[in-house]
Structures are given as structure tokens and as C-alpha cells.
Amino acid sequence: MKAAALLLLVAAAPASANPADVIGLGARAIAMGGAQVATVDDSTAGYYNPARLASFDDIHIDVGYQMAVPRVGANGELFPIDRSQGLAAGIAVPGRVLGKRLAIGATVFVPDQQVTRTRTLPAERPRFLTYDNRPQRLLMAATAGFEILPGLQIGGGVAYMASTNGTVELQGLVGFPNAELSDLDLSIDVDVQTIRYPHAGIAWQASPKLSFGASYRGGFRLVIDQTVKVRGDLGTPDIVVVENGRLDLRSVSQDLFQPMQITVGGAYQVTPCLLVALDIAYQRWSVYDNPTARIEIELDVGQFNDLVMIPPPRQLEIPDLRDIVVPRLGVEWQGAPGPRKWIARGGYVFEAAVAPEQKGESNFIDNHKHTLSLGGGIEWRGIGDVIQKPFSLDGFVSFTYLQPRDHHKLSPVDPVGDYTASGHAIAAGVMTRWRF
């Protein structure tokens, strides 16, 4: 039985949510607070607004590395939360079809610690919704943009995620009372299934100075469905106590969730050097389900059935998350054109807490979050004969402040009790951007 439980744990270990939603993607975008839907100008358009791909003249290849370190907790103690770090990269290849601009792109974020991670925690275990599993997964999107009218582009694509469903089956003799006499054949049947969710966008260059954009990013939930089956006799090879005993244990949990998001925004070139961008994003968190595993157990041990009491499934609290609107403000200053051009960027984001105050048994912690970001870069017009197009190196740092929030428990015997959740997160990264 221990072996079966171990196998269940092992089999239930893959998967997680979206680091780009938490941190952002790419040095320029993060430095500008993610206000990119109308102004993204590199391969991260595949994430922020695929329509913008069709505005590119050059092939873009971008490679960078970024990380985020959450330092969040409650009552002055830090929670053991992993940092998120990995490779951010993308490519955009523009061309023309029937005289219209067309571009295809691919965007990835590859965590360098685990490709994906899933942790299913007990309902009452305090966890930060934003920093729990979300930043710990692979992001992979393939997108395309198309110019339908001069200055007006549309785009779309698909992002991928994997879900795991599987069964571990043990058949044979379960040794009782001496477990070492067990003789079990093991079979594992696990499917890693693809989850696809759409990206789409539209971009409009209203004037040389003013542009608008809108994007849609589909939501998804990743459900882990695992079953352990034990079939066989119970006893010793000589004395069988129970013939054809049976244990079925099924665990179903929602381990990852990404809300559907609609973003609209605009960008204005205030001066030849100064760009200001503002995005407003709607995030649909209200359909979030309680991520705690739902366990179903069926046991048939013959004459011993009356001695075994299987508790009824727990009634899980409804998380009752709320939809939010996230404003993102970004500015970019570019130095005078020349062989080398210096660039400075800044941004601000406010994300309201999606979870209500946690008064009951569950502890889905979320706080109002204020993020300030800064970044800079240097762009070379070209390097010799090999790289004739602009090449740039960009970096960013961002600081997210979690506004302290009290949680008052209604029950005097709540095992967690009242707490004040607070913290901050620091993110930093670099990206090189190449054009050909």
C-alpha cells in the first residue's frame, strides 16, 4: 500500500501555471509594467498581442533570462515559496502574402528548475494564490499576425499546456499481517494530454504617434486525475484471509488555473524620445475552483468491510474569487539615434486582490499588489558585417509590494487563526534582441 501511495504521489507530480502573467515576459515589457498591447515591438508579441507581429519589418530573435523571488508570508514569517527563473525566448518572422504583411512567431518561457510543477495542498494550508504554482510552469505559444488594412493588424495563436491523467494498478497478493510477503504486479497507464488555449489580438496604428491594441488570452484549468487500483488477495501465500480484495483510490484536483484575460491599451509617442503606454486588463478569476484534491475511495475486503470506516468526501469551501481590472502604465525614453542608443524604461502596475478575506477553513491568500519596475538598454545599430540590423541588450528590475492584509477567522478553534499576510517580490532579468 505504501508503494501504491508513493506511486500516486510520483504520478501526480507534473504541471503548473503562467509565469508571464505573474512576472511578465521580456526585459522591455516588464520594465514598462507590461503595458505592451499597443506597443510591443519584439517577439514577446506572441504573448502580449500577436497582431503586433504583422507590424515587424525584420526577423526578431530574442533570448533572455529572468527570475522572480517572492518574499511573502504571514505574521512576520516567510512562507517557503520557490523562486521562479528561466529562459525567455522568442522568434518572429515577418513576410508578405498577397501584398499584405504576415508574420509568424513563437514564444517560450522555460523554467530551469522544473518544466512544470504541481502541488496539491490541503484546503486549510495557507498559500499565496499568485505565487504558489503559477510562476512554475512552461509557457509555449505559437502565433501569427496579419495586416488586414494599412496600420490595422489582427493576430492569433495557441498556447500549450499538458495535463496528466493516469492509473497505477497493482495486482497480486497483499501480505497480511506481514507486508513483506506481498507479491504484486505493477502496471502504470499515464496519459500526458495537451491543453490548448487561444491567444488573439488586434492592433491599430491610428497615427504616427498614436497606436491602440486589444488582446484576448483564453483561460484554462489543469485538472490532475489520478487513480490507484489494488486488486488481489489478502493474507499469506498459504492462508488467504480475503479473496479478490479491491481498493480504488481516485484523486481529482485543479492544480493550475489561468484566468481569461482581455486587455485594451494605447501608446502615445509624446516626443520623439518619449513613449507612454497604458493597458487595462480584465481578468476573470470568478470561475476559479477549489484546488484541493477530491478523494474517492472504494474498498472491498470481504468480511472485514464492517471494520473499515471510509470517511465521506469533504465538502470544500467555494473560493469565491472575484474578477479584477488591472491597470498597467509604462514609459520609455530613447536617446538620440546613433551608433549606440541608450534606452530607459519605467512602469507601474496595480493588481487588486482576487481572493476575499479568508474567514473559514481555506486559506487562499492574495493581497493588493503594487509593482514598480525600471529598466534600461543599449541598442547598437549593427555590429560589423555579420549583424547589420540593430542589436540590443536590455535589463530590468521590478519590485512588487503586497499591501498587508488581515484575515480574521470566524471560528475560535480555527487551526490557523488570524493572520496578517504581507510581503514583496523582486524580479530581474536581461534579454538580448537580435534582428535580421
Binding site: 533570462y65 527570475m67 523571488v69 508570508g73 504571514a74 505574521n75 512576520g76 514569517e77 516567510l78 512562507f79 517557503p80 515559496i81 520557490d82 523562486r83 527563473q85 530551469d112 528548475q113 502541488r119 494550508r125 495557507p126 535589463g395 528590475v397 488581515d406 484575515h407 480574521h408 477567522k409 471560528s411 475560535p412 478553534v413 480555527d414 487551526p415 490557523v416 487563526g417 488570524d418 493572520y419 496578517t420 530581474a428 532579468g429 536581461v430
Partner: protein, 315 residues
């Protein structure tokens, strides 16, 4: 450059941002339980879970505060032949360390009503300053006495008992009132007596009762030896009063520690269903709480159950 250094450091898995294996460290807890006895550790000088032991006496009824070297503990030292009972004091850096102060006697019977017996100390900070101890005295007519101290070592007794007909006191201060939880000779349950400035008055009914109708309850037969702790909540003027207590089944050799709590002193809820917070021959708890944990001292048994010791468990 600093950013690059930060990235390089993280890439090597070094520094302050290193991964954390204990997934529950730092999580908030109310401290209710369940508790686990300290596991034996060969690298410490203590004999975990044992915290205090005396081969010639029973050490019981611990009362613990954080402070001093780490832990400040008052307890009863008693013998049966001859019959003696006094209150002693010790300090230790932690429950895994040997005492750095004491044990030493700090309170002995001296008043007539005590009849040569003092036991079951309950020590807490006095809102008026210093420390206050409530203790049990007398063998034939158990009553509760009161003493005050500035250092926990030298105590000045109130000459008369503050509550008659009660044993095993534990005291908390809530909203200007003094709540004392006790058991009573020939009465079932754990009772509360409240002092609103004119002396202690017992409630009309006990706050915790045994559960004779629950065959699998750890407190089927008796509840006793309360330990109360008042902890402010984040709600203004609302205090959560924790109450750990000893429960027994119809097996007289079995005792365990349960938990209940209240916001108002009137409505009490148990936690853990029929299960205790610490099982198997544990009684007379005292607890200190930390942001993400708790430490419990309790009465254990040594020498085949013939002698009482003070043992430790943690959340």
C-alpha cells in the same frame, strides 16, 4: 552588475534565495495542535521528550512562560513518602537543553489554610506589573491561593485563598477581567471563575464537560487540569482564549490532551472531533505559542509509570 551577480548566484543555487524543503515552515498556526512529542536527538544534551526528571520525586503541573534563558518553568515537586509538595522553578534555553537555572524551590507551604501542600502553579504576567501565580493548596479542602513576584523567584503570598473548593488553576486576563479555569472536588467538568474586581465568582455551569455519549472520545470519562492562554485576535477587543485540558477514557491509565477555544468565554468549541491534540499518557499541559509553532510541556511518566516527569511536545 548587482543584477548580474544576483542572477549568477541564483543560477548556482547559492545565497539567501536558496530553495526550501520544509513546505510548512513559516505557515501561521493558532497553536491548537496536534502536538508531537520531541523526538530523541543524540546531538542534544536532553533526553527528549523528557524535559525534567527527578529519580526520587514526582515533577508535575508545569507552567511555562517564554523569557529568561528561553523558557521559564514553574512546576510541582512532590514525594509520597514522606508526603511533601512544593513549587520549584527552572530555566532552560529550549526544551532540548538542560536547565541553566535551577531547579530550585520558590514556593513552599507556609499558610495555615495550605495544610503543608502547595502545587499546580499557574504563572502569568500581571497586568499590574511583574508576575502573578495562582496555585493549589490544602489536601483536605483544596483551594486556590495567589502570590506575586517581580522576578519569578521570590514570591509574596496573599494570606487567604482567593477561591475555595477548587483545584488545578489556570488564569488569563481578558478585557479587564481575570478568568480562572479550575476543576472542583466532586463536580464534573472544567469550570470558570471570573474576577471583575470583587473576587472570583464561579459560573453556574462548567465550560467543558466530558463526553460520556461518545464511545470513542478521548475525554469520555473526565476532563481536568486546564491550561488557558488568552491571545488577542486581529479584531479589536476580541480575544481568543485557548484551553488545553486533560481528558480520560474509561481506561484509568489512559490520559490525553484536548483543546477547546472561545471568543467570549460562553460559547466553547472543541477542535479535533473525538481526537486529542496529544495522546497516550499525557496530562496537565502548558503551552507557549510562536508565530508558526508552539511548544507544550506536560506530565509524562517514567519508571514504568510510577513516577511523574515533565515532557515536551511541539506543534
Amino acid at each position: 552588475m548587482r543584477i548580474l551577480m544576483l542572477l549568477a548566484t541564483s543560477g548556482c543555487g547559492l545565497g539567501w534565495i536558496g530553495g526550501e524543503d520544509d513546505r510548512t515552515a513559516g505557515l501561521p498556526t493558532s497553536g491548537a495542535g496536534p502536538y508531537q512529542r520531541l523526538e530523541s536527538d543524540d546531538t542534544t544534551p536532553a533526553l527528549e521528550p523528557r524535559f525534567l526528571n527527578d529519580n526520587r520525586a514526582n515533577l508535575s503541573d508545569p507552567s511555562m512562560l517564554a523569557g529568561g534563558a528561553g523558557l521559564r518553568v514553574w512546576f510541582t515537586k512532590s514525594t509520597t513518602d514522606p508526603v511533601t509538595s512544593e513549587i520549584q522553578y527552572t530555566e532552560a534555553g529550549s526544551a532540548r537543553e538542560m536547565p541553566s537555572v535551577g531547579p530550585m524551590r520558590v514556593l513552599a507551604a507556609s499558610e495555615t489554610w495550605e495544610e503543608g501542600v502547595v502545587s499546580s502553579p499557574s504563572v502569568t504576567g500581571d497586568p499590574a506589573g511583574g508576575l502573578v501565580m495562582f496555585y493549589e493548596g490544602s489536601a483536605s479542602a483544596p483551594s486556590i491561593g495567589r502570590a506575586t513576584s517581580s522576578d519569578g523567584l521570590t514570591w509574596a503570598k496573599h494570606p487567604d485563598p482567593v477561591l475555595l473548593g477548587a483545584t488545578a488553576p489556570s488564569v488569563v486576563f481578558v478585557a479587564g477581567e481575570t478568568w480562572m479555569f479550575v476543576t472542583r472536588p466532586n463536580e464534573v467538568g472544567i469550570w470558570r471563575a471570573v474576577d471583575r474586581g470583587s473576587g472570583f465568582q464561579l459560573d453556574l455551569a462548567p465550560v467543558i464537560l466530558p463526553r460520556p455519549d461518545e464511545a470513542k472520545a478521548f475525554d469520555l470519562l473526565t476532563v481536568s487540569e486546564p491550561f488557558a492562554l488568552a491571545v488577542p485576535t486581529l479584531e479589536q477587543d476580541v480575544t481568543r482564549v485557548h484551553l488545553w485540558f486533560t481528558g480520560t477514557t474509561d481506561d484509568p491509565t489512559s490520559s490525553a490532551i484536548g483543546y477547546a477555544a472561545t471568543f467570549d468565554g460562553l460559547a466553547w468549541l472543541r477542535f479535533g472531533g473525538l481526537e486529542p491534540m496529544l495522546s497516550a499518557d499525557a496530562s496537565a499541559p502548558t503551552v507557549i505559542l510562536e508565530a508558526s509553532g508552539g511548544l507544550m510541556l506536560f506530565e509524562g511518566a517514567a519508571a514504568g509509570g510510577t513516577r511523574v516527569t515533565v515532557d515536551a511536545a511541539e506543534l
